[in-house]
Amino acid sequence: MVSRMLRRKLFRDVRSRKGSLAALVMIVSAGVGVFVGLLAVFRDLDSARARYYQEHRLADFSVTLKRAPDRTTDMARTVPNVREVRGRIQQSVLVDLTGRVKPIPGMALSLPLDRHSLIGGVMLKTGAWFSGDMASEVILDFQFAREHNLRPGDRVKVLLLDRQHDLLVVGTGMSPEFVYLIPPSGGLAPDPAGYAVMYLPHRFMQESCDMQGAYNQLVGLAFDNSRIALKEMLHILKERLNAFGVLDTTPVHEETSVSVLRDELYNLKVTATVFPAIFLGVAALVLNIIMGRMVAQHRNVIGTLRALGHSASTMTLHYLGHGVIVGASGGICGIAVGIWLQYAMLGMYKRFFAMPGIVPHTYPGILVTGFLIALVCAILGTARGVRQAARLEPAQAMHPPPPEKGGRVLPERIPFVWKRLSFRHKMMLRAIFRNPFRSMVSVTACAVATALIVATLCLHDSTYYMMDYHFMRISHEDLTVALRDPRGPGSVSEVAGMPTVSAAEPQLTVACEMTYGPHVKRAAVTGLSDHARLTTPLTDSGKQLVIPDAGVVLTTKLAEILDVSVGDHVRVRPLLGRREETTVPVVKVIDGFLGLSAYCHIRYLSTLVGEEWVTNAILASSFPGSWGTPLMPALKERPLVISITERTRSLEQMHKTIGEFMGGFILVTIGFSGVIAFGSVLNSALVSLSERRREVGMLRVLGYRPGQVSRIFSHESFLLNGVGVVVGLALGVALAHLITVAYNTELYRFPVVIYPSRVAITAALMTAFVTAAQLIVHRMVKALDMLDVLKVRE
C-alpha cells in the first residue's frame, strides 16, 4: 500500500536526522516539562494552602493593641462585616533549653480550652490539647520541637514577662499563620530552630502576662475579605478600639507568611507560562529551518512522488508527520520531565513551607494540555516546509533547484573592510546575510539562552547583595539585646560592663505610623546615637550616613509609599509611650532593601515618645573569638531582656535556605538554556553543512584540511552566536531590571546587581555550548566522503 510506503519513508527520514530532531525534542521537553511541572506544583500548593487556611480558619485580620478588656470583643462583633472575633494574648518569650547557653527568643500565643472552630486555629501534629485553662502546659510549634528533639512529656523553661515557668509539653502543632515564619530579627528566611512559636492556655497566659480579663490581640473573620472591605472594616475597628492602644491592624493579605506564599504561587504561574512559551517558540523556529531544508533536499523525491500520482495533500500530511513525531516525543518526554520537576520542587517546598498536604497529585488535564501544546507548536514549526512541499509542481520539482541567488550583501557595501576579508569570511558573511530567517533564529535562540542565564545569575547576586548589605555592610554587632521597655543610659553601661563585651551601643526602635497627605504607613524607626559604629546606614554613594540631630531619614520604598521627598514634613505617631502625633521633616532618603525603615537620632526619637533619652535595644560586639559563654548566663538572668539575637545567625540561615533554593534554580536554568543553545546551534550548523556539502567536498579536494573547512562553519556559528550573546546579555540585563521591578514589595526589594564576572561566566558557558555543537560538526566534516559529495547533483 502506498501510504504504508510513505509512512516507512517518514520513519526513515526521521531516523536519518535523529541527531537534530533529538536536540529539538529536548527543547520541546524542557518547555513542556516546565509547563506541566510548575502548573502541577502550583495546583498542589494552592489546594494545600486553601485547605489548610480553611480547615484551621486563618484569621482575615488582626488588631494588635496594648490591652483591651474581654468585653470589647462584643463591641468588635457589631462592626459591619465582622463575622467572628477572638481576643488572644501575644507575648514575646525567651525559651531556656537545658544544655543550651543561649536562650531562644520566641512568641507565645494563647488558645482557649475549647479547640473547636477556633479562629487562627492550630493543627495538632502530636500529643494532646491542654488539660485545663490554667494548666502550665504548652503546645510547641512542631518544627521547633523537631529541631530540638522535644516531645510531649518533656519540660521547657519559658520566660514570660519577668517570671520563668516550667511548662509541660503536651503536644506539637502548626498553624496556617506561620507557613513561612520570618523571625522578627529580620532577614528573609525562616529559622525554625532559632525562633520558638508556642501556644499556651488562655487563662494561664492572662494570669502570667498581667492580662487578667483582657487581651492584646484581636483576630477575626470577615464576611467579605476583599482588600477594600477589610481596609474599611479595620479603619472602623481601629477607631472603636483606639482607647486601648491600637498598635497595628493587619489585613490577611499583608501578613508576611500569607504574602510570601501568595507571591511564590504567582511566580510559579508566571514561570509556567513564560518559560514554555520561550522554549516552544524556539523549538518551532528551529523546526521550521530543519523542515525547510528537508523539503529542499527532497525536492526530487517530492517531484517523483507527485508524478507517480500522489496529491499535494498527501505531501502535506507526509511532512506534517515530522512535526507530529517531534511534538509527540517532546510531549511525552516533557511530561516525564514535568513529573520529575513536580516531585523535586514539592520536596523543596516541603522544607520551605510549614504546611501539611504538600503532596504531588496527577492532573490529567495539565498533562494532556502540555502534550497538545507540544504537538501544536511542532506542527506549526513544520508549516513553512510543508507549504513548500505542497506547492512544488511535479515537473518543476524534478528539475534541479534554481541556482542560489547572487547579489551583494550588506557588509560588501563597506569595501574598505570587505576587501581585507579572506574568502572564508566572505563565504560566511554571505551565508549569514542571504539566509536572514535562519540567522535570526540562531541569534534569537542564543540570545534567549544567554538572557536566561544572565538574569538568573543577577537575581542570585541581587539576593546576596541585599543580604550582605543589611547583615554585613550596615550591621556590625555580634548580639542584639532587646529590652522589654525603654530604659535610660544606665542599661548601656551595664551591657558594656559584661564579660567579653568590647563595645555596646544603644538603639531605640519604635514602630510608628507615618502619614503624609492621604498616605498612611507603619514603619520601624530606628534611633541611633552620634557616631554609631555597630549600625551604620549608608547613603546612596556608599558613605556612612551622618545622623541628623532633628528630622528623619527614610528608606526609598517608604518614601515612595508615602510619596514624600526630602524637605517634606510627615506626621509621625509612635506606637509607644505618649503616642502623640508630631510633624517631622524628611531630611534624607537612602536605599534599603528589607522591610520599611527609617532612621533618626536616638535623642530625637526619645523626644517623640515623650522621654528625654531612652533605648530599647542594645547592640554589643565582643572581643574577637571570645564571646558566648560568660555573657549569656549573665543576660539570661535579667528579666528585662526579651530577646537576644545573633546577627550571623540570620545571615547563615538565609545563606542556607536561599542558597539551596537558588542553587537548584540556577542549575535547572543553565541546563535548560544549554539545551536551547546546543539544540539551536547544532541544528543550524547541520542545516548549513548539509546545504554546503559540495562546497565542503570541493574545498577538501582543493587541499583544505578538515579543520580548515569546519572552521568556516564554526566561524559562522561563533559570529551568529556572538551576536546572540551580546543581544542576550543586553536582554538579560533588561530582564534583571524587570525582575527588580516585579519583586519590589514592602517585605523586600532586589537591587540591580550586575557583576562583570557574571557576564564573563555567561559568555563562557555559551561558548562551551556552541563549541560542543561545533565539535559534532567538525566530526561530520571529517567523515564526509568528498567523492560522493562531488559526484551527484542534489
Binding site: G407, R430, E695, R700, G703, Y704
Partner: protein
C-alpha cells in the same frame, strides 16, 4: 616492474625524452558492496608523461573516474602502486594526500563545483590561498578570458563560464597536473569546444600536464595519447601523432 596484462608495451611508441610524471602500476581498487566485492580497477597500469595531453576514454562504469581519483590523491588503491615523481602516494597519510592535492593537482569537474557564495575571483582565490607558488588570481581569470566577470557570482554566469572559472581555480594553484573529469559533460557543443580549446591552450603554453577523462570518444581524438579503459583495466594506449584540432570535433 610487475606484469602489465592486456596493455601493449607502454614504452614502445613514446619519445624517449619524455619524463614520467606519474606512474600507476598494477592498481586494483575493490569496493565492498554488502556481500560482494566490486572491482572498479583491476591491474590498471599507466604512465603519465610530463606536459602531455592524455585522454582516458571509456564507457560509464569502466573505472575511469576511480582511476582519476586514485591519480588525484582523493582515493587510495586497494593494491598496487601510484608514484608521483618517484614518490609513492598510494598508501600516503591523509595529511600527505592533502598536501599532494594542494601543491601538485588541479581538479576540474563536470559540475564545476564552484562555491555559490563566492564571486568568480573569490573562487579562484580559494585555491591561491593554499598554494606555495600561486598565480595572481586575476591573471588566472584573464587566462580563461573572464577578467571582466570577476565580480560575478556563479549564479550570474553561464555553464561554460562557470567551467572556465573552475579551470582558472585549478590553474591558480600552479599545479603540474590538471585532472579533468568529464569537463564538458554538462555543456553544449559550442561551449564544450571553448572549454576544450582552453585546456589544450593551457597545456601548450603553460606546459601543464592534462589528464582528461571522458566517455565521449569524439573528444578522445584531441589527445596526445589516448588510453581506453574498460572493466577496470587499460585496454589500449595509443599515441596520437596528429591530434584533431578542437574546432573539428563534433558529436
Amino acid at each position: 616492474m610487475a606484469r602489465q596484462p592486456v596493455v601493449p608495451d607502454t614504452h614502445a611508441n613514446q619519445d624517449c625524452h619524455q619524463k614520467v610524471i606519474l606512474r600507476v602500476s598494477n592498481v586494483e581498487k575493490v569496493y565492498r558492496m554488502g556481500e560482494v566485492d566490486v572491482y572498479a580497477l583491476r591491474h590498471a597500469s599507466l604512465d603519465v608523461h610530463e606536459g602531455e595531453f592524455l585522454i582516458v576514454a571509456g564507457p560509464s562504469g569502466s573505472g575511469k573516474s576511480t582511476l582519476l581519483n586514485v591519480i588525484g590523491g582523493m582515493d587510495r588503491p586497494t593494491t598496487g602502486s601510484v608514484t608521483f615523481l618517484g614518490t609513492e602516494i598510494s598508501q600516503a597519510t591523509d595529511v600527505a594526500l592533502t598536501m599532494y592535492r594542494r601543491n601538485e593537482v588541479g581538479f576540474i569537474f563536470q559540475f564545476y563545483n564552484l562555491i555559490p557564495t563566492l564571486t568568480a575571483l573569490e573562487n579562484v582565490e580559494v585555491a591561491v590561498e593554499l598554494s606555495p607558488d600561486p598565480l595572481d588570481p586575476m591573471e588566472a581569470l584573464a587566462m580563461v578570458g573572464l577578467q571582466d566577470r570577476a565580480d560575478h557570482f556563479p549564479s550570474q554566469l553561464s555553464g561554460g563560464q562557470q567551467q572556465r572559472v573552475a579551470i582558472a581555480r585549478a590553474l591558480a594553484g600552479n599545479p603540474r597536473l590538471l585532472l579533468c573529469d568529464e569537463p564538458t559533460g554538462a555543456l553544449d557543443l559550442e561551449t564544450s569546444r571553448q572549454v576544450l580549446n582552453l585546456l589544450r591552450r593551457l597545456n601548450g603554453t603553460l606546459g601543464k600536464t592534462v589528464v582528461l577523462i571522458t566517455h565521449n570518444s569524439a573528444i578522445a581524438s584531441m589527445g596526445d595519447r589516448i588510453a581506453r579503459i574498460s572493466d577496470g583495466a587499460i585496454d589500449s594506449l595509443v599515441v596520437n601523432e596528429h591530434p584533431t584540432p578542437v574546432e573539428e570535433i563534433r558529436w
